[in-house]
C-alpha cells in the first residue's frame, strides 16, 4: 500500500495544473485518510466527520467552495461514492475530482468559474467497513457489512461465513458434482458456469457454492456471514421489511442515519451524483407509467414522466462526454439513490462507471463500427448466479460469464482463477475457482484513470445545468399620483427545473422566496411582500409577479429580492424618481 500513498501525495504536491493521472488505484482506509488530510489543507476545502460506521471507522464529508462572493448563495452538487464495499474504487474517482478542482482553482478558468458558482460536497466513501474487505486477506467481495444477522435462522449469527478454503488468497466459488445440481459447464467457455436450461433439455450437473465451509452442518455452504446487513439497502425508500440484510429498521446503520441527516441539513444541494451499482443515465430509467397503476400506500416504482424527460437529456449529455455503456442496476430497495430522488425530490444521477462489456466478439470478423451504433448493452455485474441468459433463438446462448471472459481475455486481464480440484472437509471432492474478487467490478488502474478523467469532465459540465432563476424587471410604470405598477419575470434558463416533479410532490425542497423590500413612505397597494415559488420549469421556465406600490417621494431603496437555498440569489432595484 505504501507506494500508492506516496504517489498520490506526490501528485498532490506537484500538481500545478489539473492533470489526469495515468493510473488510479483503489484507496484503502489509511490512504483515503491521507488524501483527506492533504485536501483539508487547502483553503477551499472543509473536511467534516459524519460519525463512525458500525465497525468504528470514520465516515467523512468534504465541502469545496471558493471565497469569492457570497458562498451561501450558491447551489451545491453532492458527489457520493463508495456506497458499498465492492465499489470501493469509486472513492478514487471522487477524490480525484476534488484534487483536480483544488489544483485547478485559480489556474484553470473553467474550474475557477465552476467553484465560484457552485459548492461541491463530497462523501467519498459511505461503506467504510465494506471497503476494508478490499484490502484484507484473503480477498473477498463483501457487500454486507452492517449488523450481524442470522441468515440461515438456526439461532446462530455468522457461524458459517465465506472462506478461502484452498488458501490461494481469494474467496471464489466451488463447484461440486451433485445429482441435485442445477448448473452446467458453459459449452461456450468451460471456465464459465451456467444454469441448466431444463426446458431445452439441459440437465444440471453441479452445485455452485460460494467458497467456504458448512461449519454448522446444515448442508448449506457459506450461508451465514458475520456482518451482513447491507449499508446501501438501509435507506427508507422502498426498504425491505423483516429482512435482516436491510437492517432492523431504515437508518439502523450509523452511516445511513448520518447520511440522511446530512442531506436534511444541506438544503443547498441541487443535484446529486452517486457512483455505485445503480445507473439511470445509460439505460432509460423506468417511469411510473411503465410501473402501472397502484393502490393507496403502495410503493410506486419508476420516476415521473416529466423527470424522465430531464433524465433523458442528462443521459444523452452524459453518454456523449463519457461514452460509458454500463447501464448499472435499476433502483434497488432501500438505496440512497432511491431515497434522494423519491423522498427528497433531488435529481440524482446514478452512475455505474464501468462493467465488463458483454459485446466482445470473437476475433474472426471486424464489426466494430456497426457495434458502436448498436443497442445499449446490458452490463450487469457481480456473481454468476444473477445471470439469467435469455436466448432469443434455438441455439444455446452463451452465458454472460463466457462473454465477460472473452472480453477479459482480449484485454489481457487475468480475472479468472482456474477451477482446481480440492478435497473439501465436508463436501469431499470439489473444484475451486471462478472470477477473482473485484475482477468484474473494478476497471483496473489505467482504465480507472481514463474513466475518472471523462467523469470529471462530466462533473464540470453540470454547473451550468443547475437552476439559477434570474429576475428581470418587465415593467415599472407610473400610473399617476405616485402609484406604480411593477412587474418582474422570474426565469430559469438552465436545463434543470427548480424542482423535480418528485420534489414538487414530496414538498421537501425549499421554495424560492421573492421579497418586495419597500423604503419608508412606500406603501403596498396590491401584491404580496413575500411570494413563495414552488416550481419553475427548466430551459426557459418563466413566471411573472406583479405589484402596485404607492411611493411618496423618491423610491430609493426599493428592491425585489430573490432568495433560495439551492438556486442562488439575485435582486433587482426599483428606481423611482
Amino acid at each position: 500500500m505504501l507506494p500508492v500513498l506516496i504517489s498520490l501525495l506526490a501528485g498532490l504536491v506537484c500538481a500545478s495544473a489539473p492533470q489526469a493521472e495515468e493510473e488510479l488505484v483503489v484507496l484503502d482506509g489509511a490512504a483515503l485518510q491521507a488524501v483527506l488530510v492533504e485536501l483539508g489543507a487547502s483553503a477551499l476545502v472543509e473536511v467534516s466527520g459524519l460519525g463512525r460506521s458500525r465497525g468504528g471507522r470514520a465516515i467523512q464529508t468534504l465541502k469545496l467552495s471558493s471565497a469569492v462572493g457570497d458562498e451561501t448563495a450558491r447551489p451545491a452538487i453532492l458527489v457520493v461514492a463508495g456506497l458499498d464495499g465492492p465499489h470501493a474504487y469509486t472513492t478514487s474517482m471522487a477524490v480525484s475530482f476534488l484534487r483536480q478542482l483544488v489544483a485547478g482553482y485559480g489556474r484553470d478558468e473553467r474550474i475557477t468559474s465552476f467553484l465560484d458558482s457552485t459548492t461541491v460536497y463530497c462523501l467519498p466513501r459511505l461503506d467504510v467497513d465494506g471497503a476494508a474487505a478490499r484490502f484484507a486477506q484473503p480477498l473477498a467481495e463483501v457487500m454486507g457489512t452492517g449488523r450481524g444477522i442470522d441468515n440461515d435462522r438456526d439461532g446462530l449469527r455468522g457461524e458459517d461465513p465465506p472462506a478461502d478454503v484452498n488458501g490461494d488468497g481469494w474467496v471464489t466459488r466451488m463447484r461440486v458434482v451433485d445429482p441435485e445440481g442445477e448448473w452446467i459447464i458453459d459449452p461456450a467457455d468451460p471456465r464459465a458456469m451456467k444454469k441448466a436450461d431444463r426446458a431445452a433439455g439441459e440437465v444440471g450437473r453441479f452445485k455452485n457454492y460460494g467458497e467456504g465451509y458448512d461449519r454448522d452442518g446444515d448442508e448449506r455452504v457459506a450461508e451465514d456471514a458475520p456482518l451482513d446487513a447491507v449499508v446501501n439497502r438501509n435507506f427508507p425508500r422502498n426498504w425491505t421489511e423483516n429482512d435482516g440484510a436491510a437492517g432492523r429498521y431504515p437508518t439502523d446503520e450509523p452511516g445511513v442515519l448520518a447520511m440522511c441527516d446530512f442531506i436534511l441539513a444541506h438544503t443547498d444541494i441541487a443535484l446529486v451524483l452517486a457512483y455505485g451499482d445503480e445507473g439511470n443515465l445509460v439505460g432509460k430509467p423506468e417511469t411510473q407509467k411503465d410501473a402501472g397503476p397502484s393502490e393507496r400506500g403502495s410503493v410506486v416504482t419508476g420516476i415521473f414522466e416529466e423527470d424522465a424527460k430531464v433524465y433523458a437529456e442528462l443521459g444523452k449529455r452524459y453518454r456523449k462526454i463519457t461514452d460509458n455503456k454500463s447501464e448499472g442496476l435499476g433502483e434497488q430497495p432501500g438505496s440512497l439513490q432511491g431515497w434522494l430522488y423519491h423522498h427528497r425530490g433531488l435529481f440524482t444521477l446514478n452512475i455505474s462507471p464501468w462493467a465488463v462489456p458483454l459485446d466482445a466478439k470473437a476475433k474472426t470478423e471486424e464489426g466494430g463500427d456497426e457495434d458502436e451504433q448498436g443497442a445499449l448493452l446490458k452490463n450487469s455485474k457481480t456473481s454468476a448466479e444473477q445471470d439469467d441468459a435469455e436466448s432469443q433463438d434455438d441455439s444455446p446462448e452463451a452465458s454472460d460469464d463466457s462473454k465477460r471472459l472473452l472480453w477479459l481475455d482480449q484485454n489481457g486481464i487475468e480475472a479468472h482463477v482456474p477451477w482446481t480440484r480440492f478435497d473439501h472437509p465436508e463436501l469431499g471432492e470439489v473444484e475451486i475457482g471462478g472470477f477473482k474478487p473485484y475482477a468484474l467490478v473494478e476497471p483496473g488502474p489505467a482504465r480507472l484513470a481514463k474513466i475518472t478523467a471523462v467523469h470529471f469532465e462530466h462533473l464540470l459540465s453540470l454547473a451550468e445545468l443547475l437552476p439559477r432563476p434570474s429576475l428581470n424587471l418587465i415593467e415599472l410604470q407610473d400610473l399617476d399620483s405616485g402609484l406604480f405598477e411593477v412587474s418582474v419575470a422570474l426565469s430559469n434558463r438552465a436545463l434543470l427545473p427548480l424542482f423535480s416533479r418528485a420534489g414538487e410532490r414530496s414538498r421537501t425542497g425549499s421554495p424560492v422566496q421573492v421579497h418586495l423590500d419597500l423604503p419608508q413612505g412606500a406603501e403596498l397597494i396590491a401584491g404580496s411582500l413575500r411570494t413563495l415559488v414552488h416550481g419553475l420549469e427548466g430551459a426557459g421556465g418563466r413566471k411573472e409577479l406583479r405589484w402596485l406600490i404607492r411611493f411618496s417621494g423618491a423610491g430609493s431603496g426599493a428592491q425585489i429580492r430573490l432568495e433560495s437555498k439551492h438556486a442562488g440569489r439575485t435582486k433587482v432595484a426599483l428606481e423611482v424618481n
Partner: protein, 584 residues
C-alpha cells in the same frame, strides 16, 4: 413456586396500614367496595402533568422497591426523560428471561389519560400483590414494561399552555410546516387571554356559511349548501389565532407539526403519502429509543398502546394494501378484542384501516407486523359513556349543562381581531371531549388497566406435559415428549413464523452418554413412526411455528446410550422449560 408465595406474603407490610384504632379494619381486595387502606394513596379522579406522573410512579416504586424499577431509555426533544417502569419479581428470575408486556401511552401530546392508565396499572398490581392470588401469580410469572408518556413534551405543553382539545398532538421539534424557512412561527393565539383556544366566528349578515341553532344559541350549524336561497349570517374562521408571520394564513405553522404515531418502520410511508411521518422512520428521539428498547427486549410478547378518543380497541392492519393478518393470529386478536368489548362496554373492537382510517407507520402495526407481537391500541373516552342513549340526549351541551352546570363551555363573547375586526370566540374547554370528566376517570383507568392484565395473562406459558422413554431393543430408545402452551398467545405468532422474525423456538435433548440419532415432530399422535425427521442436528430441533395457541407439540427422538438426559424447550416469548429423564 408455592413455598415462594408464602415467603412473599410474610414480607408484606400488613401492619403498616394507616388505619386509626377507631376505624374498622378493612381487608377486602382492591376494586371492591370495602377495600383496605392503600399503601400508596393516589387520587384517580384527575389527570396529571408530566412531572406529577413520574412523581406518582416514583412513589409506587419507593413503596415497592423490590418489584418496581425504573430506567431512563431516552430523552424527548425538549430534554424530558422517557422512563420505563418495570414490574418484575427478581425472586422468580431476571426480567429478560420472562415474557413481558409493553404498555405505553400519550404519543399524541394531547391524548394524555393513557398516562394515568399506566400509573393505575402499576399501582393496582402492586397494591394487590400478595393479597389477590391472581395478581401475585401474574407478577411472579410475567414482566411489565410501562412507559407512561411517549411524548412528555406534548403533555406538558397541552396542560400548561393555551390549547384546544386537539392541539399539542405533535412533539416539539421545531418544524417548518409552511415551508417558508421559519419554524413554528405561526401557532394559535389566545386572543382574549382566557387560557383557552376556542373557535372564531364573525357576524356577516346574509353572507355566511353558518347559522345559530334555533334551540341552543351556543351551537353553530352549517347552512345546507343545496338550498340556494338560504344564506347563513355567520362565518366560521377556524381556531383562535392571528397571522403571526404575515403570509396570509392563520395558525399554519404551530409548534412541532408532525405525528410520532406515523414514524414506525412497518408500512411506513413518506410525508407526502402519510402526514406527520417525518423524513425517515424513527426520526424523533422519542420514537427511536423505544424501537431500540423493543429490539433489545425480545421477551416482549404483548403490546398495548393508549390514545384518545372514541372508545375503540384497535388492531392493524393500518392500510388496506397490507392485506389480511394470518388466520391463526386473528383468532388471538379476536378473542382478546371480544373480551375487551365486554370489559370496556363503551368500546368497539375495530380494524384501523377499515373501521377508522388508514394509518401508515403506526406503532402497534409495527409491533405486530415488524416484531410479531399481538398488539392493541385503545382509544380512551367516548361520548357513548356520557350519552348511553344518543337518541334521548338533546345536544352536545346537555351533559355539560346538567353534570358540570356548564363549566366546560366558554360561551361566545366578542373580541377585536387585528385582521377580521369584530369577531366572537367560543367553544368547549380543552379538557372537554377527549378526556373524561373527573368523576368518570377512575372507571376508565380500571377497565383499561384490567384489559392490559387480561392481555398479559394470555402470554405464552410452556409446560412439558409428558416425557416418556420407550426402549427399542439393544441400546436404542425412543424419547417422546409433549410440550404444551397453556395460553392463548402462541410462542411464535404466525406473523413471526412467516416473516422469520426473532429466533425460532428450539426443542432440545441432551445427555452425557446419549447420542441423538434422529428426531422430529410427530405428525400423528397414534402412530409413533410418523415423524417429520430433522435433516440435521436432531438434538436441537428448530421450529418457526413454535407452540400454537393452547396447543401441544409432540416430538420423538431416537437415541442411543443410557443414563440421565434432559429435554427442554427454549424460546423468546415464554420461560424456558426443562425436564430430567433417565434411560435405564
Amino acid at each position: 413456586m408455592q413455598a415462594l408465595l408464602c415467603a412473599l406474603a410474610l414480607l408484606l407490610p400488613q401492619g403498616e396500614s394507616q388505619a386509626t384504632p377507631d376505624a374498622p379494619l378493612q381487608t377486602g381486595p382492591d376494586g371492591l367496595a370495602l377495600h383496605r387502606p392503600k399503601k400508596v394513596d393516589i387520587a384517580f379522579n384527575r389527570l396529571y402533568d408530566d412531572v406529577e406522573i413520574y412523581a406518582l410512579l416514583d412513589k409506587i416504586l419507593a413503596a415497592y422497591p423490590k418489584l418496581v424499577s425504573m430506567q431512563v431509555i431516552g430523552q424527548s426533544i425538549e430534554g424530558r426523560e422517557l422512563r420505563v417502569y418495570t414490574i418484575n419479581n427478581p425472586d422468580t428470575g431476571i426480567d429478560t428471561e420472562k415474557p413481558a408486556m409493553w404498555i405505553d401511552a400519550n404519543v399524541h401530546g394531547n391524548e394524555i389519560q393513557g398516562g394515568e392508565v399506566a400509573v393505575y396499572l402499576v399501582w393496582y398490581l402492586m397494591e394487590n400483590y400478595g393479597t389477590t392470588e391472581r395478581v401475585t401469580s401474574l407478577v411472579d410469572e410475567f414482566v411489565f414494561y410501562v412507559l407512561p408518556m411517549v411524548n412528555p413534551d406534548g403533555r406538558h405543553h397541552w396542560i400548561h399552555e393555551v390549547h384546544s382539545p386537539h392541539s399539542s398532538r405533535t412533539g416539539y421539534k421545531p418544524t417548518d410546516n409552511d415551508r417558508d424557512g421559519a419554524f413554528d412561527e405561526d401557532p394559535a393565539d389566545d386572543l382574549d387571554g382566557d387560557g383557552n383556544i376556542t373557535m372564531m366566528r364573525k357576524y356577516a349578515p346574509g353572507e355566511g356559511t353558518h347559522r345559530i341553532n334555533q334551540d341552543d344559541p351556543r351551537i353553530m350549524e352549517r347552512v345546507p349548501r343545496d338550498d340556494r336561497h338560504l344564506r347563513g349570517d355567520w362565518l366560521m374562521l377556524g381556531w383562535e389565532g392571528v397571522d403571526n408571520d404575515g403570509d396570509g394564513s392563520i395558525n399554519e405553522d404551530g409548534f412541532g407539526g408532525y405525528d410520532m404515531n406515523r414514524a414506525w418502520p412497518a408500512l411506513w410511508r413518506p410525508e407526502f403519502i402519510q402526514y406527520g411521518a417525518g423524513p425517515y422512520p424513527l426520526f424523533w428521539p422519542e420514537t427511536r429509543c423505544i424501537a431500540d428498547f423493543l429490539h433489545e427486549h425480545s421477551n416482549v410478547a404483548a403490546v398495548q398502546s393508549f390514545h384518545n378518543s372514541g372508545g375503540m380497541i384497535l388492531r392493524g392492519p393500518g392500510g388496506e394494501i397490507f392485506g389480511k393478518y394470518p388466520r391463526k393470529d386473528l383468532q388471538v386478536f379476536d378473542e382478546l378484542g371480544r373480551d375487551g368489548e365486554l370489559m370496556l362496554p363503551f368500546y368497539d373492537y375495530m380494524i384501523i384501516w377499515k373501521d377508522l382510517y388508514s394509518v401508515f407507520g403506526g406503532f402497534v402495526t409495527w409491533t405486530y407486523e415488524g416484531l410479531g407481537i399481538i398488539s392493541f391500541t385503545n382509544e380512551l373516552m367516548t361520548s357513548a359513556r356520557l350519552f348511553p342513549d344518543k337518541e334521548k340526549a338533546p345536544d352536545s351541551h346537555w351533559f355539560d349543562d346538567n353534570l358540570h352546570l356548564g363549566a366546560g363551555f366558554v360561551d361566545w363573547h366578542p373580541v377585536n381581531h387585528p385582521f377580521y375586526g369584530e369577531i366572537e370566540l367560543g367553544g368547549f374547554r380543552k379538557d372537554v371531549g377527549r378526556v373524561p370528566p373527573s368523576f368518570l376517570i377512575e372507571e376508565m383507568l380500571h377497565r383499561n388497566a384490567l384489559f392490559c392484565i387480561k392481555h398479559a395473562a394470555a402470554m405464552p406459558r410452556v409446560e412439558i406435559k409428558s416425557a416418556l422413554v420407550t426402549p427399542l431393543g439393544g441400546d436404542l430408545a425412543a424419547v417422546d415428549v409433549i410440550f404444551e402452551n397453556l395460553s392463548l398467545i402462541p410462542t411464535r405468532t404466525a406473523r413471526a413464523a412467516q416473516e422469520g422474525i426473532g429466533a425460532a423456538d428450539c426443542f432440545t435433548l441432551e445427555g452425557p452418554d446419549i447420542v441423538v440419532l434422529a428426531g422430529g415432530f410427530r405428525r400423528d399422535r397414534w402412530r409413533p413412526e410418523r415423524i417429520d425427521l430433522a435433516e440435521h442436528e436432531p438434538a436441537r430441533l428448530l421450529s418457526e411455528d413454535g407452540i400454537g395457541s393452547r396447543s401441544q407439540v409432540r416430538l420423538r427422538w431416537i437415541v442411543r446410550g443410557s443414563g440421565p438426559l434432559t429435554v427442554g424447550w427454549s424460546g423468546q416469548k415464554a420461560r424456558d422449560v426443562q425436564q430430567a429423564l433417565a434411560i435405564p
